[in-house]
């Protein structure tokens, strides 16, 4: 198997919107690649061409120009999808199926059957935290639960590439955190992940490299550390520092003009997400203790 999981080469996609309408270029000469085993984030505003790029990669759309491949195989071939697990944005599955039936159905589509498929489905439902709702129909699932079932079906045939389109859209912070952990877990298992999200902070936590698209073009691309680090600034965090020590630091910087400028000093902020998780986890722990007693 190729060392490069995904190759997008000079991809252009033009839509013909019918008689009397101008041609619409959704993606224009986009190129990037994703190495096997890495987590690659594709970000950009709505209408920037991310979903179109993913659809071409998955063979749902044909490229106007350029080539796309998955592990060295032309991604327009159905066979290439053997290596891919896909979670669409706001996934809708057959509402008449239960969680377990959904995972089994998608497993069967991948040629799986028998005990192996059942065991795999059970394991994935456990992994995604959906064990308890496995026998409930999808019609009664929340958005977050659908997203997690979506992840389970995407992983059912043990793909080498996981394509996630806005995996945390509409999911609460705890659910988002769980999905983030699952992405990291996939990475640890050697699965390549290609993910789009509007929640940039989350992408920052999981991605090795990112590509930023705007108006159908790739405007910036590279390792996340290179893209977000501010080369001419240094940050250090002290714990339990006394006011005297802080004053000494200020004085030291001021005494050496030309050696550097102190831009800011103060208490670091936690993120709203971390605070939310801390508070809700504490509340759940208290509730559990109360129930026990």
């Amino acid at each position: 198997m190729s060392d490069t999981a995904v190759v997008i080469e000079n991809l252009t996609k033009v839509f013909n919107r019918g008689v009397g309408h101008k041609l619409f270029t959704a993606v224009k000469d986009v190129s990037f690649s994703v190495k096997a085993g890495e987590v690659y984030g594709l970000i950009g505003p709505n209408g920037s061409g991310k979903s179109t790029t993913m659809k071409v990669l998955l063979g749902l759309l044909a490229p106007t120009h350029g080539k796309t491949s998955i592990f060295g195989m032309d991604s327009q071939l159905v066979e290439s999808r053997r290596a891919v697990g896909f979670l669409p944005e706001n996934p809708y599955f057959y509402k008449h199926l239960t969680g377990m039936e959904t995972v089994l159905f998608f497993g069967k589509l991948c040629g799986m059957s028998g005990k192996k498929l059942h065991d795999q489905a059970k394991e994935l439902l456990k992994l995604t935290g959906m064990e308890g709702a496995a026998d409930r129909r999808l019609g009664g699932y929340s958005k977050g639960m659908l997203q997690r079932i979506g992840l389970a079906q995407a992983l059912v045939h043990e793909p080498q590439l996981l394509v996630l389109d806005e995996p945390t859209a509409g999911v609460d912070p705890a659910g988002s955190r769980r999905i983030r952990d699952l992405i990291l877990d996939c990475k640890a298992r050697g699965i390549t992940v290609l993910v789009t999200s509007h929640l940039l902070e989350q992408l920052q936590e999981v991605c090795d490299r990112i590509g930023i698209m705007s108006q159908g073009q790739m405007v910036s691309e590279g390792p996340i550390e290179d893209l977000i680090s501010v080369e001419n600034q240094t940050e250090f965090v002290l714990e339990n520092a006394t006011p005297e020590l802080l004053q000494q630091i200020r004085d030291l910087v001021a005494s050496k003009p030309g050696s550097g400028t102190l831009l800011s000093m103060g208490h670091p902020h936690t993120t709203l997400e971390r605070m939310f998780l801390k508070v809700t986890e504490e509340d759940e722990r208290l509730e559990a203790t109360r129930t026990k007693t």
Binding site: G59, L60, V78, V84, F86, F93, Y94, L97, G150, H157
Partner: protein, 298 residues
């Protein structure tokens, strides 16, 4: 990866077929079947003032009418819902993002609808056969009793045989099952045609209306053919007749229901010919549907 890829996989098609069957059954099709079954049973008690042959013919007319209504409505309306709904719900993305060839998807939908229609028709056929057999027994008993009274004693064997033959001709015969087969074959053609239309349609309503138009035109397809071969009219009329003659199925080939409800026999060769034509139409429409669907951008 867990399994090797097969470009044609019966188990994958079966998974899609069963999913379609479940999807259709959730559309409350069983309730529709139940209502028809109640009407079938009710019809067996109706028309008490008619003579023996008329009673049996009316029962068959009502039942075959309902069977046709069931088969053709499901064939056009339910099929038209399947593909656009999967596109709208984006379920199709998730399915086709798996190693699923588009042909397998279409075949799964086709077989799913055919299983539901076929299953429903078999159930209704069993019910009609049962009701007709019981009704036939009562009618024959009444006819012989009437003959007995009319002649004031035991009727001669020839008269009994003639009366029995008359009732049996209108009763349960093999030709009735051929009539059900004809309904199924016509429904199969409609399903494949509706799937084809769904591949280019942007809405369910368009698919239903277009299929219904083809259904109506299909019963007069021979007129388009005659018009085409006669020629001598404006070129656009000639062209329209040619297009309709080519694309429209000749549904009148499956019209044996009137004959079987009148008690006429259907030859085995005619039944086989009709089956062959049905398979050809269904196969042909599915090939065109696949060629359109494989190029469809989602």
């Amino acid at each position: 990866m867990s399994s090797s890829y097969k470009s044609f996989s019966p188990s994958r098609i079966w998974a899609l077929t069963m999913s379609t069957v479940t999807q259709l059954l959730r559309m409350r099709i069983l309730v529709f079947l139940l209502v028809i079954s109640v009407v079938v049973v009710g019809a067996s008690f109706a028309f008490p003032t008619f003579n023996a042959a008329q009673q049996l013919k009316m029962l068959k007319d009502v039942c075959f009418g309902l069977e046709q209504l069931f088969a053709y409505v499901i064939a056009m309306v339910a099929t038209a819902l399947l593909l656009p709904k999967d596109v709208e719900d984006r379920t199709l993305y998730t399915i086709l993002a798996k190693p699923v060839p588009r042909l397998d998807y279409l075949l799964g939908k086709l077989f799913g609808v055919l299983i539901v229609i076929g299953g429903g028709l078999v159930l209704l056929d069993i019910m009609l056969s049962g009701v007709l057999w019981i009704k036939q027994g009562y009618v024959l008993e009444d006819t012989l009793a009437g003959l007995h009274m009319q002649l004031g004693g035991t009727p001669p064997p020839e008269a009994i045989a003639a009366a029995t033959a008359d009732v049996e001709k209108q009763g349960l015969t093999w030709a009735l099952h051929v009539g059900v087969l004809a309904i199924f074959l016509k429904a199969s053609v409609l399903v494949s045609l509706t799937l084809l239309i769904s591949c280019i349609a942007t809405s369910t309503l368009f698919s239903v209306i277009t299929s219904f138009c083809f259904f109506i035109m299909g019963h007069g397809e021979t007129l388009f053919r005659e018009y085409f071969f006669k020629g001598g009219t404006a070129w656009w009329q000639y062209l329209a007749a040619a297009v309709l003659a080519i694309f429209c199925p000749d549904l009148s080939l499956f019209d044996v229901v009137d004959a079987v409800t009148e008690g006429r026999a259907v030859l085995l060769t005619d039944a086989l010919h009709m089956t062959g034509i049905g398979l050809l139409y269904t196969g042909g429409y599915m090939v065109v549907a696949y060629l359109l669907f494989v190029e469809k951008e989602l």
